[in-house]
């Protein structure tokens, strides 16, 4: 199968990756080749097989629900690329029409 430029661009949107034209073209080409190779898998008879998502038999591993020390607010904010006071700072999320000036 061949991955079109449009399909590649849609995947990039889903993945929240801004890619330039050159990257889109290269990835469309590489993915087409890789996906062709992956289609080799079509040869295994496996309709009856249960999917294996995890190699250990463990299910629902819980620990006791007890409070433990966690990061301080300063530590949690220390790596933030932008902050305002005690908050992570991002562009306005709610439309100006709804929320007025941010």
């Amino acid at each position: 199968m061949s991955l079109s430029r449009e399909e590649t661009s849609r995947l990039a949107d889903l993945a929240r990756l801004s890619l330039n034209d050159e990257e889109l073209a290269r990835i469309a080409h590489d993915l087409t080749e890789i996906i062709d190779y992956m289609e080799k898998l079509a040869g295994i008879d496996r309709a009856h097989v249960r999917p294996m998502s995890h190699v250990l038999g463990t299910v629902n591993v819980y620990r006791d629900d007890r409070a433990e020390p966690s990061l301080s607010q300063e530590e949690a904010l220390a790596n933030a690329p932008d902050r305002q006071g005690q908050f992570f700072r991002v562009p306005r999320i709610i439309d100006a029409g709804e929320a007025g000036e941010a």
């Binding site: 991955l3 590649t8 995947l11 990039a12 949107d13 889903l14 993945a15 929240r16 990756l17 801004s18 890619l19 330039n20 990257e23 290269r26 990835i27 590489d30 993915l31 080749e33 890789i34 996906i35 190779y37 992956m38 080799k40 898998l41 079509a42 040869g43 295994i44 496996r46 309709a47 097989v49 249960r50 999917p51 294996m52 998502s53 995890h54 190699v55 250990l56 463990t58 591993v61 620990r63 990061l71 530590e75 949690a76 220390a78 790596n79 933030a80 690329p81 932008d82 992570f88 991002v90 562009p91 306005r92 999320i93």
Partner: protein, 504 residues
Amino acid sequence: MSGSAETRLCHMTLHELHDMLVQGQVSSKEITSDVLARIDEVEASVGAYVTVDREAALKSADAADAMIGGARRDGDAGGIGALLGIPVVLKDNVCTCGMRTTCCSKMLEGFVPAYDAAVTARLREAGAVIMGKANMDEFAMGSTTQTSVFHVTRNPWDLERVPGGSSGGCAAAVAAGEAAASIGTDTGGSIRQPASFCGVVGLKPTYGRVSRYGVAAFASSLDTVGPITRDVRDCAVMLSAVAGRDERDSTSAPDAVPDYVEYVDRGVQGLKVGIPEEFFGPGMSEGVRAAVERALRALEGAGANIVEVSLPLVEHALAVYYLVATAEASSNMARLDGIRYGYRPEGRGGMDVADLMSASRGQGFGMEVKRRIMLGTFVLSSGNFDAFFGRALRSRRLLAEDVQRALAECDCLVSPTAPTVAFRFDEEPDDPLALYLQDIYTTLANLAGVPAMSVPCGFSDEMPVGLQIMGRMFDEATLIRVGRAVELTSGMGAARPKVGGCAK
């Protein structure tokens, strides 16, 4: 220069260094200083490190010397732990509190963790001296260490060749005398292949054997953390130190941790060593084949029985691996959005939050990471999910059952670790798929969850060749026995590269 006339301290195994520390023949400060001197000599050509913390290393060495001095005064040599005062390096995806941890990505270039990974904490508690952080492929995606945002790492055996990857910095550092031992990560071969290329021992433990708390996730059902060392005994020491249940990693296993060092000298008399016929077809270089066959004859000479086994579906392993790994990677990488931490671009007037995330990720990730996120997104998108991801998960079970069946007929499976010795930088294929074929022997262990070791077994083209030994779940002990037998008969345990004027 410190160290004996024959071997400098920086080239000794960690167990040799430990014995000298216990006997008071050397201090951790002398060892650490020699390793720092070695870093100064060869780092410009090898490039194994992305962060070296001299001050912290020397401080830890002083603290270790104080503890060793106290234990010796009290006549308590047994109180001197196997890693006390030993210089180690950690791959740069293992969190170190207060020390930059970048995954060698522009996305995390300035990231300083506020906590230690579980393995880091265990090494600190054992008194190891943490020298710094090793270069790697960006987010562990690659097999040459060339996708690192920082610089290339060169193979200490031949600076014109790649060290392998993604734990290439770890393997090169241990081979070149820039750390006594190392901790790397292995999702599809990232400990074993660089160990093979650099002539050192690398162990991918059983899935769940070593806690992954604080280690940046790549593909959560495949990721493992394990040692890279100069010999098999060192590997056993390191594994014993870091293995075991950790409440903070729900996938870490409760199974008891044996003292792996006890198995080093048990020999291989009567062990059944399985040769999967599918792994010995075309595809491997003649030099690799010859070295592996010599190792098999040597194992037979040491008392092992060689039996032929079959892994009928193994040709599908690589495709299954890349489907599962990229699907899981695209999910794990979603947390890297440049909001709470990570790269944020300049000049973002008029961007909304979604644009900002896309720009952070578009500019913060390198090409290989983007390619894998895109493949994973494709695999998981509606319309493709069952045809690709569902099919891969079902095939994965069949592959795991193949491995279990083969391991019911023998105690371990052996093969080459990689189809070739380390290749030259100018021989690296441009085609990503051709590079993925490097992982042809290694991905199966991650898919099945079983442990696998790469141990040097000889040379081809004056470059080291690695033998891979795959074992049953939680049976690292057998890998250590077999690996030691290979090391003894090949004499590779004492081989050192000649970078910076060090004789073999």
